[in-house]
């Protein structure tokens, strides 16, 4: 009788088929267990209005100069000029405010003036944090609080005396040279010798970047940064990821000014630098 099939070959093929089926079954089991989707990059774009700096101080100064000129012209006709007045105090809110005013020749003789009330021909129109705006003959006159003036004088004197001028406030931006930035970019080790910054997290969320160490007399110390400062904003962008910080760094060649907001002693402090 002639053999129609090779039983040995069939046996090998059958065994191989079984092995293929077992391999496929195992891979299906693995496929069932493994995730079916990958991880996608989920970047929340930190859209904030572009940082623009307006020097209100200059505007007010200009306005004051213009007003002073007008006052000089008006003074002879009225007899009493606003330059002869003193603003001793401010109370209330912008809608319901009172000011204490006096004349320079008799500073102890004060008078309480409410919004809309008239003092020596000048009507109190509105108030700000440290000044009162009077109106006379459809023209506005600003009277600044005495304490603010003296504080400003004291602060400017202190700055002149000190060797390093720290950028404690946003009043006067401190200059940062592009050469220094380039130097630090080429020598990253120098950065970590001078300053140590670590992210501060609330769970997975980054709250800001904390200055954990700062070398005395380093460039960073001269810029007004202090140990314990929590950097929360740069150029009006909240720093909630490394990407936010790096985005600012990558644009440093194109910007002329950088504004940093730090939390210091539970208070927000704004540091402003001119890049030149």
């Amino acid at each position: 009788m002639q053999k129609l099939s090779n039983s040995k070959l069939i046996s090998i093929v059958f065994t191989l088929l079984i092995l293929v089926v077992i391999a496929k079954a195992l891979s299906l089991g693995l496929w069932w267990y493994l995730p079916s989707d990958g991880v996608e990059l989920n970047v929340k774009n930190n859209y904030q209005p572009k940082y623009q700096r307006v020097y209100c101080k200059n505007i007010i100064t200009k306005a004051k100069i213009q007003q002073k000129k007008k006052e000089i012209v008006q003074a002879p006709t009225d007899g009493i000029s606003i330059t002869n007045m003193l603003l001793k105090g401010l109370y209330g809110t912008s809608s319901r405010a009172f000011v204490i005013v006096a004349m320079k020749d008799s500073p102890k003789k004060t008078k309480l003036v409410g919004l809309g009330e008239v003092f020596k021909g000048y009507t109190l129109k509105s108030t700000t944090k440290d000044s009162a705006i009077f109106e006379k003959g459809s023209k506005d006159y600003i009277l600044t609080l005495e304490q603010t003036k003296s504080k400003r004088r004291a602060r400017s004197t202190k700055k002149e005396d000190s060797f390093i001028t720290p950028a404690f406030t946003a009043d006067e931006p401190v200059g940062v040279s592009r050469r220094d930035i380039a130097h630090y970019a080429k020598n990253p080790k120098q950065i970590w010798r001078d300053i140590s910054i670590k992210e501060l997290r609330d769970g997975k969320k980054i709250l800001g970047f904390k200055v954990t160490k700062i070398k005395r007399n380093s460039k960073f110390a001269q810029l007004g940064l202090q140990k314990g400062d929590l950097i929360i904003k740069a150029n009006n962008v909240k720093l909630v990821s490394y990407k936010d910080a790096l985005d600012i760094y990558s644009k440093i060649d194109k910007i002329d000014m950088i504004q940093i907001v730090v939390m210091r002693d539970n208070q927000e402090v704004e540091l402003v630098y001119d890049i030149n």
């Binding site: 191989l16 493994l34 990958g38 991880v39 996608e40 970047v43 080790k189």
Partner: protein, 177 residues
């Protein structure tokens, strides 16, 4: 008897190859992505191609802490058990790294074979020059030997200062992890 053992090993080899072929490589890649996410590393914009015994990843972008760090043209992962390799070609590093090193890397070839099971070897070539890296799995250390290019020597001398220079002009970096 010898014939039976040979047939048995033949079956085992066939089974392993079948298993490797049917392994859901794309799903395994997704699993690896999830593991990498714990270290703030995300691979995005990639196209995955399962070629049977290897996985090709085309045009991936590597993001570390949400920062785009590198763009790769192609990444080929082959895991055969006895011979495993990861071949990466045409890597463009993020411009933020331009202060430290040249941005273009031609290739990175990482291999692990049964012949040398305790070491993972890597070869890298790029604008910075050529480098050879060896990871000792047992001693848990990494050593890199770098032969810098002219560009690297001229423009990135500061980076080279972080490495130890050997007598034959190579730069060595070693780290235990």
């Amino acid at each position: 008897m010898v014939k039976k053992i040979a047939i048995f090993f033949g079956y085992i080899s066939f089974f392993i190859l079948a298993l490797l072929y049917f392994t859901p490589k794309i799903s395994l890649y997704y699993f690896a992505e999830q593991e990498l996410k714990a270290f703030d590393i995300v691979v995005s914009s990639e196209t995955l191609v399962d070629t049977g015994f290897s996985l090709k990843i085309q045009n991936p972008t590597i993001n570390i802490k949400s920062i785009e760090s590198a763009k790769i043209q192609e990444l080929d992962i082959t895991i055969l058990g006895l011979y495993n390799s990861v071949n990466i070609s045409n890597i463009g590093l993020s411009s933020t790294a331009k202060s430290f090193l040249p941005l273009n890397i031609e290739y990175v070839n990482i291999t692990h074979t049964i012949v040398d099971p305790l070491h993972i070897n890597a070869q890298v070539k790029g604008e910075f020059g050529e480098a050879k890296a060896v990871v000792n799995i047992l001693d848990r250390n990494l050593s890199i030997v770098l032969l810098p290019s002219k560009l690297m020597k001229e423009k990135y001398a500061n980076t080279l200062r972080n490495l130890k220079k050997s007598e034959n002009g190579e730069f060595v970096y070693a780290k235990t992890f």
